[in-house]
């Protein structure tokens, strides 16, 4: 937090006093201005019938027509529902996964083993979604896939995971968990390393077993980290990511799998309706903003942790 101006209220004197801090913040301020805030201006094309040869100045203004068109679209509710549901599943299943994994890793006593496990689980994060989709097709195939062979041993019929609306959301979340859980543990492990070991020693003397220690010491110590990451996650609630969905979509699962991002890609880049898709994008951002503010409000009220 920037300090308040001094008694005489001279803000310049205050800036001068902390000039070093201000100086080192200049590059990041410039970065955000140039790469984040100035491009925001481009959003005005959502209110225009944008033509790339006429530019911002020459294109015709159409007001909220593109937003109206979006809400009227016969598939809008379906796509929004998919986006919200997939976001929700991601929050419920994928968000806690790294926490659980970090707690489990924390219980490992053999350092070498712990290192190996850690490396193995965070490796998939560096694979691209295209590669993961290719692997998934092979693993999930009803005839040759290893998963269906496993199911076969237990007496189940093979399932066409990628060719069924019922499974696509599960596949999307599952592949995400597989890819990113290990990577997500890094922050939690760092937080865990910061806990004072004396707390555990004291608890042991008081007769707490490992489970009790986890509940009473580890989790409360992790809570601030969890809360902040949770708020950041909420901000990206509708932002599940384009590529990871696009690579899994096919004719048999689009109904439940299509999200706003993939729709924007199809309508915007493939059909070149820049204005329309910018409107959809703005809508998405506004929902994200509202969610973050709500989440932040409740978080501050309940746990005292907040982003701002």
């Amino acid at each position: 937090m920037a300090p308040r101006p001094g008694k005489d209220g001279n803000i310049w004197r205050m800036i001068w006093k902390y000039k070093a801090l201000y100086l080192i913040s200049i590059p990041s301020i410039l970065y955000f201005l140039i790469f984040k805030y100035i491009p925001l201006g481009g959003s005005i094309i959502a209110f225009q019938e944008y033509n790339i040869f006429k530019g911002f100045g020459g294109s015709e203004w159409v007001g909220f027509a593109h937003f109206a068109e979006m809400f009227r679209h016969y598939d809008f509710l379906r796509i929004l529902k998919n986006t919200v549901l997939i976001g929700l599943y991601d929050l419920v299943f994928a968000f806690p996964a790294p926490i659980i994994l970090a707690l489990l890793l924390n219980e490992l006593r053999l350092v070498m083993f712990k290192r190996v496990v850690q490396t193995v689980v965070y490796m998939p994060h560096f694979l691209s979604w295209v590669v993961i989709a290719g692997m998934s097709v092979a693993i999930l195939s009803p005839t040759t896939g290893i998963l269906n062979q496993l199911l076969g041993w237990f007496g189940f019929d093979p399932l066409y995971f990628l060719g069924d609306n019922a499974y696509i959301r599960g596949v999307l979340i599952g592949s995400g968990v597989w890819r990113d859980t290990g990577y997500g543990t890094i922050l939690y492990l760092a937080a865990l390393a910061g806990i004072n070991p004396e707390l555990y020693e004291a608890a042991q003397i008081d007769g707490a077993n490992r489970w009790k220690q986890t509940l009473r010491i580890t989790l409360p110590a992790l809570l601030p980290t969890i809360m902040i990451l949770f708020l950041l996650h909420i901000g990206k609630f509708l932002d599940f990511g384009f590529e990871r969905v696009w690579v899994f979509l096919n004719a048999l699962n689009t109904e439940n799998g299509e999200i706003l991002d993939t729709y924007i890609y199809r309508a915007g880049l493939l059909s070149q309706q820049y204005s329309y898709t910018t409107a959809v994008g703005i809508f998405k951002s506004l929902v994200g903003l509202a969610l973050v503010m709500t989440g932040n409000f409740f978080s501050r009220k309940t746990t005292g942790e907040s982003l701002y």
């Binding site: 790339i52 066409y160 990628l162 060719g163 048999l252 880049l269 493939l270 070149q272």
Partner: protein, 541 residues
Amino acid sequence: MKLPANVNSIIGKEGIGLKKWASLMLTCMFAISLLAGCGGKDEAKEKAPGAAEQQAESGDTVTKFSISLRTLNFGYVEQSPDINADKWVKRLEELTNTDMDIRLVPHKEYEQKMAQMFATNDIPDVVQGQGGTTGKEMAGSVEAGVFMPLDDLLKQYGPNLLKKIPQEAWNRMSYQGKIYGIPEWLGNPSRRATWIRKDLLDKTGLPVPKTVDDYLNVLRAFKELGVENPYMGRQDFKYADTFFGAYDVFPYLSQFEEVDGQIQPKFLDADNMMKALSTYKTMFDEGLINKEFATINPTTFKNTILAGKAGIWSMNANELIQWKTQLKESVPEAELAIIPSPVGPDGKGGYYLYGDVARSYFINAKYKHPEKVIQFFDWMISDEAEQFFTFGVEGEDYTKDGDKMDYKQPTDVQAVDEERYRQAFLWMVQDTTYNKGSLSLTEEGRNLMSVFDNTLANEGRDGIEFDPRLEALKKNPDITPLSDTPPPLLITHMVKMVYGQEPIENWPKVIEEWKSKGGNDVLKEANDRYQSKEGAFLPRK
């Protein structure tokens, strides 16, 4: 930035700390000035062509122009460290007295990059399109006047172009009655073909199939032989649409037809569409097509075939020799053949016809010497050019003994790649149906030419096509087909019907759904456009 007047006194007070900051700032400034310096050099570089241009005006020195070319997924192009320094480019420049500045456009992001190029107004002197003046990739640039009309220039400097390129191709390059681009044309637009493993067919003892039923019988016999994929399916029916062709119901962009005076897409013919879907359903139920075809991607498709696990499939005919060689590596006894596609109730069949134009070249309206560029392209269709692009350089790549040509056809992958690059990528204006010069040298090649001239020329499905595209189709991606992929809305129903998740009798309902989701606007606009003859192209067959 406003510096405080009392800098010195501050340094005095804070001592070393501030000095460090000052030196840091100096370093930053130095870095910035370095960057600026680089910028300056660039400017200097850019000035050079300007000087050369002036020279060009004064005499017959080299013509300089920049040109954008799509990489077309050619390994040789994509792996080349600097295409402008490539030896073939250099030779081409020598032969034509030009100096090209080639700017490659990645194949995969072609449309995106083109739009970017126009949006940033960084447009080369010559821009390569993929056919048509109003296609998506052109992003409305021709309408916006970015390129110059070429009619007068062509008359004066491109007599051979006008003579050799067919009128249909020029029609595609016209906008409001004026020619805007030079086309690389396609003499025979029927390119996709039905392929069969001839050795397997011989094993079954069956004759070459003709009708849909014949085909199904052959597929069943393949199944009995133990062929894993009697018919090779693929995602979205792309390159797996053989039977939609037999019933003439391709749900593609160029497939409109006139029924009782009304213009409509061919898939509105519910009877035939349901017959085609039933054929696929039969194949699915009997295991004649892979049960997972909805998730088979291009790579798996090709690998499965080349591993010898498929009986009949669809592919571009010009891939024949390459695939044959590759297939023989894993299955030495394999014989590949292209046979006439199955015929439907009207006695015809085949695949959708390609456009008359494969690639095209537009000249930036701001470019100073368009006549030189026209001459450059005019040279492309001369005998000298044909010789050069087909065989390379005399004495190095081939020798001539009277009329007898001694040209060693490349065998290893890299050399094949290089030949293909020279014959297809660098030869910008030609009839791309096939390369007559090199095909006629071998038995295999002559066979392939006969496939094109005798089998493929007699089949194929065409329809009425609208160019520029119908506005109603632009609005809604769900009902918009591509040139060889059905609209998403239809694919979903088609695949579900084949998988038995939805009854095929529902097709009329699908048509109603299509109409309610924007199809009615498409029908209305198509009829209006057809009546007023605005950018409507009639079927060629």
